[in-house]
Amino acid sequence: MATSPVVETKALTKRYGEFTALDSLSISVDAGQVLGFIGPNGAGKTTTIRILVGLLRPTEGSATIAGADCVAQSRKIKRLVGYMPDVFGSYDNMRVTEYLDFFGAAYGIGRRHRVKRIAEVLDTTGATYMKDLYVESLSHGMKQRVGIARTLLHDPQVMILDEPANGLDPQARIDMRELLLQLADMGKTLIVTSHILPELSRICDTVAIITHGKLRAFGTQAEIMRQITQRRTFEILLVEQEQIELAKSLVGHSLASDGEANISVSETEMIVRFDTNMPDRELAGLLAHLHDKRISVAQFREIPTDLEDAFLSVTSRGDAPSSAVSSAATAAAQESA
């Protein structure tokens, strides 16, 4: 069953004079999904987020959250969205409970319900033990937990977290990942920006890669890998070292039509490595051919690419958007139509 998108942007554009910070961004995120929003510094991630939460006005295009327009219905958006900016925003001489109590009151949560809610969010974020500590005395990781607790206070449908894992130590990063997965399990729609891509790849359902204000790739991780990394890398692990040259020449023969093919061998490891855009059927033919020539193949495997490779592949490319964008954007446009 197709779910309706909770967060949707259509041709979202933001210009500051001559400078285009965001250029026709169209994405959609379904309910309960986790979107990883990736891009180098200054790519336009925070601009997009600030438009989504109603802090910025787009020059062109539109953005909606749960059907509410981010510009026209900004008051409604504030109830729907929990936003954690990359700057914590702490106050001096305030204990964690007082800090959360203040934001609870600011969101209009009644006192009795607020006390209960503060206990709940502290429990969810594993921050109960911090409740009597002064906010300014907390470590960065502890502050991030309190920040998420604050974001959760009014039980928002969508949570937008700007660099939640930034500056955290490895253990705190693992804890943060667990926490985000827990939030996803609670049915929250999450938009998370991060530079720490291996962390992001473990929690995201969909990924949007943005550079210079333009969307370069958008879709599930698998889709993105497929679309972006069209040249896949394979390794053939041989059993006998003397067959390496023969195997290399057979592979070279099979890839003769691919002008960009790159074949290398590692004699010590007994591996022939090559990259290609050959379809799976032809690769099966190659394997059969090696077998026919009595080459003992221990392994024939594709080297998996990860989000980091995809990101680097996209960011090193020029301004042309990948086909992943066009297909995903078209799908988003069709769905909304």
Binding site: L56, R57, K78
Partner: protein, 552 residues
């Protein structure tokens, strides 16, 4: 090799917009002073009266510039570096503590000298008018100002090593400058004609103030002396005190420039509810309202912003407010008690005048530290973005913030009511005057809060906002009093009356018939002007908050 800190310090000051604004403002102010007072007729003033008038205004403006502009940069010098992490880098470099300090001192002094240089054309014009001695007046004025610059720069640098935030540095520096530079002269006038240790201390306190020396230099040494002759010039004593104190400040600051500056544990703050019964009881007795107790939630009828402001402000917690209110009440009663027992033979009106002045000083000193950072502190800490994300309207935010200041200032004013009650008890006929004075004081508080909040909202950094607020409010409140000091010459009755009307202080003093103010008719004109200015400031604040809260 030139100390690298000097170059960096000076350039970083000169590159700020604040420095440019200060240089331009000082140049314009000095040019205007000379232009406005330059003789327009063809006759020569042989008595030198006219040039003396110009010289007085010029000297006071220059002194005000030195007192309120010069400490702004050194006040934040060390704390800014400490908070940005660059002080640790400097201390880890081969530079000695003395080199770092010298670099900062010389950098700040060079900028101050630049400010003084902007006054030279005006000084030359004053001299060209004749009637002013180059050495005994103009030369000495610059010597005093240079000493004052060194003294307050070293003091500001010292304070900068003690505080934890730039905002606190600015507040404490201005409080110290105000206390040493202006308030120090007060006790002398109270104890003038008396003998004994107290009177001696008062004389030395007066001698420590550059204001006294400048007043002597411009021939105002006897102003406020109530027909008693002042005891000669305090120039030598001032120079001695200034040099000795500067050296002490330098030595103390250098001794503090080491790793101990960073050796401060973050206070986790133990909650009283978790302490033993005895400790809880003791704290209850000591604090009355224990700041470390676990708070109940913000009630539905209270503005959350107001409660937040009280909780986050160091002196906003109720136990501090209670202390402040108690001190004000005791001070007010003591002053009235002094009048009743005849220890000081001044009468109720003079004491009333002092009470009004003290209250205004209290309001002008405390309010900017509370109101100037209302918006800028939020913007600086990143809290403004979080507040914008809440469903609270900008007006609710402003209301909560203003209420938090108004409550505090209101409590301080209320604390002085017992003094006035005693005053009415002594002289029942004064009830109407006291009633009108109270209106003036309330108006002064509202006026100060609105102006400070409005001015502060235009800045993104609390330190800049606080500095600017202090300068604006001191100009608004002290400026008319300086003009009043020249009420016989160079300023006419109408000019002084118009100047006194721009804030309610003059009105309060004229109502209470304080000496020198009884001849001015300032009510209701001053009330109207103050009310309109406060309203304008409020509208300005509203517009600015609306501007920074809307999506752009």
């Amino acid at each position: 090799m030139i100390n690298p800190v000097i170059q960096r310090e000076l350039f970083s000051i000169l590159r700020t917009r604040k420095a440019l604004a200060m240089l331009v403002a000082m140049s314009v102010a000095f040019s205007l002073i000379v232009l406005l007072r330059w003789p327009t007729d063809g006759r020569v003033d042989l008595s030198g009266m006219r040039s003396q008038q110009v010289f007085r205004v010029f000297s006071y403006t220059l002194l005000a510039g030195v007192l309120f502009v010069v400490p702004a940069f050194p006040a934040v010098s060390f704390i800014q570096e400490k908070n940005k992490g660059t002080l640790a880098l400097l201390l880890n470099s081969p530079l000695s503590s003395a080199s770092i300090f010298n670099g900062k001192l010389i950098g700040s002094l060079l900028f101050a000298l630049l400010l003084l240089l902007t006054s030279l054309p005006a000084a030359a014009a004053c001299y060209a008018m004749g009637g002013i001695d180059l050495y005994s007046q103009l030369g000495l004025l610059y010597v005093v100002l240079l000493t004052c610059i060194v003294q307050y720069t070293t003091l500001a640098l010292l304070i900068s090593t003690f505080v934890q935030s730039t905002d606190a540095a600015v507040r404490m520096t201005y409080a110290a400058v105000f206390a040493f530079g202006i308030l120090g002269t007060g006790p002398y006038y109270l104890l003038q004609g008396e003998t004994g240790l107290l009177s001696l201390i008062a004389w030395w306190l007066r001698a420590a103030s550059p204001l006294t020396v400048v007043m002597d230099l411009v021939g105002h040494g006897d102003v406020g002396s109530l027909a008693l002759m002042t005891e000669g010039s305090t120039l030598a004593e001032y120079l001695l005190l200034s040099i000795v104190s500067s050296l002490a400040f330098v030595a103390f600051t250098i001794s503090r420039l080491n790793h101990r500056l960073f050796d401060r544990a973050k206070s986790k703050g133990k909650v009283t509810d978790d302490r033993q019964v005895m400790a809880r009881g003791f704290r209850r007795l000591f604090f009355l309202v224990d700041p470390q107790r676990r708070k109940s939630g913000i009630p539905f009828y209270a503005n959350p912003i107001m409660v937040k402001e009280f909780r986050t402000r160091k002196f906003g917690r109720i136990h501090w407010l209670l202390r402040l209110v108690a001190v004000c009440a005791v001070m007010s009663l003591l002053l009235t008690f002094a009048a009743t027992t005849g220890v000081v033979d001044w009468g109720v009106k003079t004491i009333g005048g002092f009470m009004v002045l003290l209250q205004i000083i209290l309001v002008v000193l405390i309010t900017p530290s509370l109101a100037s950072g209302l918006i800028s502190a939020e913007r600086e800490s990143g809290g403004w973005e979080l507040l914008r994300m809440t469903p609270m309207s900008p007006m609710k935010i402003v209301r909560g913030k203003l209420l938090s200041v108004i409550w505090t200032v209101g409590l301080i004013l209320l604390a002085t009511v017992p003094g006035y009650v005693v005053m009415i008890y002594i002289q029942p006929a004064m009830w109407l005057q006291v009633y009108m004075v109270m209106i003036c004081l309330v108006l002064a508080a509202i006026y100060t809060v609105c102006v400070a909040a409005a001015v502060g909202s235009f800045f993104q950094r609390t330190a800049t906002a606080t500095t600017t607020c202090y300068i604006v409010l001191i100009v608004l409140f002290l400026g008319p009093l300086l003009i009043w000091m020249g009420r016989d010459a160079p300023f006419s009755h109408d000019t002084v009356e118009a100047a006194l009307s721009i804030n309610p202080t003059g009105a309060a003093l004229s109502i209470i018939e304080a000496p020198g103010f009884e001849i001015y008719e300032l009510v209701p004109g001053a009330w109207w002007v103050s009310g309109i200015l406060a309203l304008a400031a409020l509208i300005c604040l509203g517009c600015q908050v609306w501007r920074i809260s809307r999506p752009v």
